[in-house]
């Protein structure tokens, strides 16, 4: 039972309201529903910050400001993206900047602006009229339309000229998944000359700036340990929420979480603002409410039991957490699995983690004096409880349960450790993220990404020496990646394959100023050496790079590549087709143990026969 003196921290309620999967959710994660909810919280606790204080800025604020100040003159602005991207929030923000305090209607006219906050609420004929009106010479207003991509495409299919030329020059290029520099410049020119701009939220990559900013705002001490709610709470010493807040306030944890989210982005997923804040909110509260911590649900829970509500566990939660307090995961967490070290067992790394945290076995003489990092209180308490159970004097009543508890603690510590500076290195997913991000940022002058990928591919083709500049001309049959029995077939193309990395989308400077983005669609392009042609392309995402890094560490079994085997098979199949198109005639060899036999067909006048030639 909650004692009368204990009050619930409104910040916890606020954060839980941002989760998309909360059981008793009131959908306040949707922008339009939030204002009223925040007002209610402020009535309950006047010290609770207002919306302005909770607001985290992005580059789009500059667009709103520039529109207001007429620094940028547009006749038409499309905001296109998916649910939760922030299209409506932008419209509301622009309206606020224009001193419009009321709620937006389906269409709102404010001075020189007409805002359609959600095109799906508008009849298509009216929408078409509005757009065509904007395409006439010297329209009187700027039309801002928030619209999803599918509807935008459909809308333009139904419009005649001059909309069609606008579609070709501005809208369609802006919707492209990947855009190179040259096309970006052309698009920039078209935007400038037409006065029509498309902000495509699918190009947005705001994880790196928004994650720390949100966590900074949400973990302000005045809302937590210094607040009237937490300062008087009797459970603050063992509160997982407060423990999360204290950790999430540190830059190393903020940056570690950004890394996980960025890794997900580079694996091909997208994190709209709503998804991002939902997952961060879940990490902060662990899915708990103050009542849960103060009440019977967790009162008698062991410290180890409380660790399941810690940020490092909550962020990787993929299935429902059952009891004592049920928590539903955020769907995006499925995509973090590859960055979850919980189930990745490496004795050396576990040893390093234990040493770093000053943890030793019961018989060790080392008292933990070499610890380079301090365990947070809850984790220390959990470790102490377990250590106590391991004392010979306690008699091991239930060995299996103790083993299970030890394994759980170790999983928690592995996760926690990856967010702590000194023990965070050495994981493939981090290295793959580093390679991709460096490249996308244009900071890969040594071509580390390309060389890593090429070396790993060559290693898969059983090239023993380091070969990282070109793809070998002696390859295993591409179909071997799909059908293992074909791996005894080897192809010799008589040429190696040149490579380069390509990436997109690169936004025109005009758009780049208003949208955080990074060219995270990255490809390895390859072609027969000496021939410039349409290359074979292999999409490089963070999961594939992780798998290729493990190949470089010696795990050369093609099975370990999982679903990427098909991608690699297609890539190599295309390389073969390119070589044949360029007049190369690949020869086939059968590998028997260490020996290879070239296989050809000798064509005779009456019949053809096979010819085998041993090759060492």
């Amino acid at each position: 039972m909650t004692t009368p003196s204990q009050i619930a921290n409104p910040m916890v309620d606020y954060l839980n309201s941002l989760r998309t999967q909360q059981q008793d959710s009131n959908a306040t994660y949707i922008h339009e529903a939030r204002h009223e909810f925040v007002s209610e919280l402020r009535q309950r606790a006047p010290w609770f910050p207002d919306e302005k204080q909770l607001y985290v800025g992005t580059k789009l604020d500059l667009l709103a400001a520039d529109l207001k100040s007429r620094r940028i003159e547009l006749r038409l602005l499309f905001l296109t993206g998916d649910a939760g991207d922030g299209k409506t929030a932008f419209c509301a923000n622009l309206a606020r900047q224009l001193d419009h305090e009321d709620d937006l209607r389906w269409e709102t006219e404010i001075g020189p602006f007409r805002i359609i906050k959600d095109a799906s609420e508008v009849d298509e004929a009216i929408l078409s009229d509005r757009i065509l009106e904007q395409l006439r010479p010297s329209p009187t207003r700027t039309l801002v339309v928030a619209i999803n991509e599918g509807r935008l495409r459909r809308l333009f299919r139904s419009l005649a000229e001059p909309a069609q030329s606008l579609w070709r020059t501005v809208v369609e290029p802006a919707l492209e998944t990947s855009m190179d520099e040259a096309h970006a410049l052309t698009l920039g020119e078209a935007v400038r000359s037409s006065g029509v701009m498309v902000i495509n939220f699918r190009h947005r990559f705001h994880v790196r700036s928004v994650t720390p900013a949100l966590l900074q705002v949400w973990t302000d001490a005045n809302q937590w340990e210094a607040s009237p709610a937490c300062s008087t709470c009797t459970e603050k010493g063992r509160c997982p929420i407060l423990a999360n807040v204290l950790d999430l306030r540190t830059t190393s944890v903020q940056s570690g979480i950004s890394d996980v989210l960025a890794w997900s982005h580079f694996s091909g997923q997208r994190l709209p603002f709503r998804r991002l804040q939902a997952v961060l909110a879940l990490a902060t509260t662990g899915g708990l409410r103050c009542n849960d911590v103060q009440g019977d649900a967790l009162r008698n829970e062991t410290a180890l039991g409380l660790l399941r509500y810690r940020y490092y566990h909550a962020i990787f939660l993929r299935g429902d957490l059952h009891g004592p307090v049920t928590v539903q995961p955020e769907p995006i967490a499925q995509t973090f699995a590859g960055a979850d070290p919980g189930y990745f067992v490496s004795p050396e790394r576990d040893d390093e983690i234990q040493k770093s945290f000053g943890m030793t076995g019961p018989s060790s003489s080392d008292e933990g004096g070499n610890a380079s990092w301090v365990l947070p209180a809850l984790e220390q308490q959990a470790a102490d409880e377990l250590q106590q159970q391991l004392q010979p004097s306690t008699g091991f009543e239930d060995v299996a349960a103790i083993q299970e508890d030890l394994a759980r603690l170790m999983r928690y510590l592995r996760r926690h450790a990856q967010f702590v500076d000194s023990v965070a290195g050495g994981l493939d997913w981090r290295q793959s993220l580093f390679l991709l991000e460096q490249y996308a940022a244009g900071q890969d002058s040594e071509r580390k990404l390309t060389r890593t990928v090429v070396e790993a591919i060559n290693r898969l083709h059983r090239v023993a020496e380091v070969m990282s500049e070109t793809i070998t001309g002696n390859q295993i049959d591409p179909a071997g990646l799909r059908v293992p029995s074909r791996q005894v077939l080897e192809l010799s193309f008589g040429t190696e394959f040149d490579v380069r990395a390509d990436c997109g989308p690169k936004l025109p400077p005009l758009l780049d100023a208003y949208l955080e983005s990074t060219p995270s669609e990255i490809y390895l392009a390859a072609w027969p050496a000496g021939h410039t042609s349409e290359p074979a392309k292999l999409r490089l995402d963070s999961r594939l790079i992780g798998a290729l890094l493990s190949v470089l560490r010696g795990y050369t079994s093609w099975y370990s590549l999982g679903p990427y085997r098909r991608d690699l098979a297609r890539f190599h199949g295309r390389l073969m087709a390119l070589a044949v198109e360029r007049g190369r005639s690949p020869t086939l060899a059968i590998r028997i143990g260490e020996k290879r036999y070239g296989v050809t067909v000798e064509k005779g006048a009456d019949r053809s026969r096979l010819r085998f030639e041993g090759r060492g």
Partner: protein
């Protein structure tokens, strides 16, 4: 001269639109279709000789046993694992191969090996596509001609197989016959099938030769399966397209509720083959009665003795044994004797029922056409990757294999937006894909989608028989779980990109 009744097997196959209701591999279906399309088959005896230890040395230049035998063993092992489709029971020697080039498709014993099933594909699917999208057949030929260049084994083996011209004039296969009497099926072929094959050409562009062939096999299987469902929906349901529930969990034990529903749905359609055969038997009896005054009156005279005159009819069949005729006469006499004890005077309805029953029983054997049609339905579904699981001891159900998901996703991504049947703005969304699957093939993963629900209601209200399908579909909650399994698998297969929790977009790399 005895009156001769039409053979039930032949008429039943024509009714179903199946060239021959036989167990067959999907690769052989494609092979026969490719041979007919390219008008080329081959003499592959030199290739088959590689499996014969006494003959294969003839196939190797400068043969040295100690050095070349291990290489031949390894080559044969690779071919066994990747190219051989049918093989002889005793020797294990190959009879048919994956059709990576037309010359590997044998020109001899084609009737036994391929059962003319390629005719269904060429005349029933590809030629209609070419009518709707002129140039399709030439593009398909070009695609097939490129396979040996992209496939190292095909490249190696092609010179070993001598090409033989094998012209195949356009004919009227059984599917075409079925299409002429079933306007809904005709519309499905002209729209869905034609759009699918046009999309196939585009989807195949980025695939390897192996994958192109696999996808072709799967798409042929899917079309044959759905076409057969159209024909099995039965009298009274002609205005509604068929539907079936498909389980999305990878393993049956992951979701027992949907497993049961998927099994029941498949059983429903499988059992419809027997009903269809009975229907066709009725048509033959009616046709015979119409043509013969004596037999017609025998049905209506209310006399057991007069009805016995039907036992003087013969069934058209090849061979001297006349097994079906003998069985028909025996069955008819036995049932008349039995019925006579219960009813002194047969009504016209009872009389017809007995004759039809006897004709049906004459063909209802363990290898009869109804059983073969069930096999055909299952094998076509398996080829498409929508019927499983593999293994003879496991009960079959509608389930989505990974390869089926990939094929359906790739086709969807390759379709022009205007051909996707959905109300969703985002044509490449998973929601739009599910709508399209329901509209195109009657494939239902969840009824949460409005389009799927409408298609389901339409089908299950068409006739009393079809209404029974309602009870085989799982509850809405179970179907929501089914959808979750699908989402999970699509993510694992990397067939989808999630731009938000509400926007899952089809992705094919």
């Amino acid at each position: 001269m005895p009156v001769v009744m039409e053979n039930l097997t032949e008429r039943f196959q024509r009714y179903l639109g199946v060239q021959q209701a036989q167990s067959i591999n999907s690769e052989d279906l494609s092979a026969d279709a490719i041979a007919r399309l390219m008008e080329t088959r081959g003499d592959n005896s030199a290739l088959i000789a590689l499996w014969d230890r006494s003959q294969r040395k003839e196939q190797v230049a400068d043969y040295r046993a100690h050095e070349h035998e291990p290489v031949l063993d390894e080559l044969v092992r690779v071919l066994d694992a990747t190219l051989v489709v049918q093989r002889e029971r005793g020797s294990g020697r190959p009879k048919t191969f994956s059709p990576l080039f037309p010359e590997i498709i044998p020109a001899v014993k084609t009737g036994t090996l391929y059962r003319e099933l390629g005719r269904t594909v060429l005349d029933g699917f590809w030629r209609p596509t070419d009518r709707v999208s002129p140039g399709f057949l030439s593009s398909l030929k070009l695609l097939i001609e490129r396979w040996p260049q992209q496939h190292p084994l095909a490249r190696l083996l092609q010179p070993l197989c001598r090409p033989l011209s094998s012209p195949s004039p356009a004919g009227t296969g059984n599917l075409n016959a079925a299409v002429t009497v079933d306007p809904l099926l005709a519309g499905w072929v002209d729209h869905v099938v034609a759009q699918d094959w046009t999309a196939y050409l585009k989807a195949a562009e980025n695939l390897s030769a192996d994958e192109q062939l696999d996808m072709m096999n799967a798409l042929i299987g899917l079309h044959l399966h759905v076409a057969l469902l159209y024909r099995l929906r039965g009298a009274g349901a002609e205005s509604a397209a068929p539907v079936f529930f498909v389980a999305a969990a990878r393993q049956p034990e992951q979701d027992r509720t949907c497993d049961r529903a998927a099994y029941n749905c498949f059983s429903f359609w499988r059992d419809r083959t027997a009903q269809a055969m009975r229907h066709v038997a009725g048509e033959i009896v009616d046709q015979t009665a119409t043509a013969n005054e004596e037999l017609r009156s025998a049905l209506n005279q209310g006399s057991w003795i007069r009805l016995s005159s039907w036992s003087g009819t013969e069934i058209k069949e090849s061979g001297r044994r006349k097994r079906a005729t003998t069985e028909f006469v025996r069955e008819l006499k036995a049932t008349i004797n039995e019925a006579e004890l219960r009813t002194p005077v047969p009504t016209a309805e009872i009389a017809r029922h007995l004759v039809v029953g006897a004709l049906y029983a004459a063909f209802d054997t363990t290898s009869g056409p109804a059983v073969k049609a069930k096999d055909f339905l299952r094998n076509a579904g398996r080829a498409a990757g929508i019927v499983g699981p593999e293994g003879s001891y496991r009960r079959k159900r509608y389930q989505l294999e990974d390869r089926a998901i990939e094929m359906l996703v790739r086709l969807h991504a390759a379709r022009p937006a205007e051909t996707i049947k959905t109300a969703e703005d985002e044509r490449q969304s998973v929601g739009a894909w599910l709508d399209d699957l329901a509209e195109r093939y009657g494939m239902i993963i969840t009824l949460e989608r409005e389009r799927a629900r409408a298609r389901f209601d339409d089908a299950t209200s068409a006739s009393k028989v079809m209404r029974a399908l309602r009870s085989h579909f799982p509850s809405e909650q179970a179907m929501a779980t089914n959808r979750e399994f699908l989402d999970e698998r699509m993510e694992l297969l990397r067939c989808v990109r999630k731009f938000s929790d509400a926007s899952s977009i089809i992705y094919v790399g």
